[in-house]
Amino acid sequence: MNDLTLIRKSLFRKKTRAILLILSIMTAFLIFGALASIDRVLNSSEELSRADRLVTVNKINFTQTLPYAYWGRVQGVDGVQAVTHASWFGGYFQDVRNFVQAFAVDMDSYLEVYPELEITADQRAALAERRDCVAVGADLAEQYDWNVGDRFPLSSNIWRQDNGSSAWDVEVCAIMTITGQDLPTNYLLLQYDYYNEALAFNRDQIGWMIMLTGDPGLNDGVSQRIDEMFANSPAETETTTEAAFSQAFVEQLGNIGLILSLVVSAAFATILMIVGTTMVMAINERTKEVGVMKTLGFSSSRIFTHVLSESVLLSLVGGLLGLGLAVLLLGGIAQVAGGQLPGLGVGRETWIQALGLMLAFGLVTGFVPALNAMRLKIVDALGKE
């Protein structure tokens, strides 16, 4: 027997109560894990944003396209180090429910503007050689079990080819990861030329442009120069930072971050109060036992540590179960969503945040009962003369 045995035995002294408490905490962390992961997927592009990266879109709306020629003109703007463009493809694989987040891009300049995208040298060479080659994010590749060399028709629910088909035959030539980041790589890049030349309509248009300035201090000037350049043209532009663009994109779905914070905070506050009150009651019930332990020679500080550890253990057991359930639930949602939310899962950052919250939750709910137990006088506890 050791102190951990004692802590564990005390925690499960009343099994029903302990199980109900664990279920409460589990529910809180299930909500946290699920919502944080969904938020993470929706905001992953925002997290990837660089302060010196700008995005130019059509001033009317970013769903409106821009002429391809703009790309060449922006390359000469003072302060622009590199510029690329991307177009929303609206892809799916085999069935319209198997959503694939795909962009048609100029591969060389795109990889220059997004240096964090890691592709091996030989895969990069393959992309340069063949126009039907696509680069697939590692998460997306895992989802559809795609490997380098696999060929498949990538369909679009927006675009159609001259020949009436809405599918572009592509081959996976590269699998992308993101350097040093725990972010989902849940999208596919196909080559603009290959996509554009077959289009039945809207040819020589691009969705948006992305620029590197190399210095956030240059952003305002560059934005102004680009937007002035295209002022009074049929397609006026609006240039913002990449972070603002990503945020605006996500906010189409509502303020997910705010909803997440409100739901999680409400769940946590409620459960914190329930668990905190129950812990105080549980320790009060054990007043005599605490007194006996002190009589035997257990110091007040050791008693304090025991009670606090009990509360932290409760929180960890409930929290880990909740997060484990979130993993299963998200796996299920990902399957049902059929690729609508690729990369969905409890990420490393969510695990770290949750573990921190579990510890904090345990310490907060256990502090008052631990303090009461520490201060308890043996004579009062034993209830004698």
């Binding site: 027997m1 050791n2 102190d3 045995t5 004692l6 035995k9 005390s10 499960f12 002294r13 005599k288 036992e289 006996v292 332990m293 002190k294 009589t295 035997l296 020679g297 257990f298 110091s299 007040s300 500080s301 043996i378 004579v379 034993l382 004698k384 003369e385």
Partner: protein
Amino acid sequence: MTDVLYELTDLSKKYTRGKESVAIFEDLTMTINRGDFIAIMGPSGSGKTTLLNLLGGIDKPSGGQVVCNGLRIDNLSQARLAKWRSSHVGFIFQFYNLMPTLTAAQNVELPLLLTKLSGKERKRRVQTALEVVKLAERAKHRPRQLSGGQQQRVAIARALVADPDVLLCDEPTGDLDRATADEILETLQLLNSELGKTIVMVTHDPAAAKYARRELHLDKGRFVESGAMA
């Protein structure tokens, strides 16, 4: 080594109830020798348990000194007192006060968690203590699976396992029938006569007091020694 284990000098204890100060006893002076088995009797509220608490360092006197084994304990900090108690005193309570979630063996092992003994040595000591109280075969039972007398024997084993200088017993047979009480008292008597354990026992029961070597009657804050037995 001197034969004197405890020296109480001018000991007083007062409680404050509202604005009133109530003296339990004043200027109490006594010694307890090593190997003694003392029964302290007296009417309710005479301060028997309070005296036991002062001997065990779980309460502090209002005045005077408590010296045990040459160490003055009445002015030790709570942390030092806790450490002192763990190695010098074994407590036995009226209602056994066992941990309901632990087995008999785990209850007995509890005080040994405060020592640096290895797990193997702890197990050996627990086994020995349970054999002394004739409960080795019930080592894995939880308190609710044991009778009152068996629970009290587990409590005795727990008090004994760290090999303390003194066993302080507060009405150890108060919750037991006569026959079981006699068994417990015989065990205490055996611990005193065979292992030389010093025992101080508070009791209301004159029959229980007869098992002690000395009976002390505490009345109105004064001791009246009423006799000794062989």
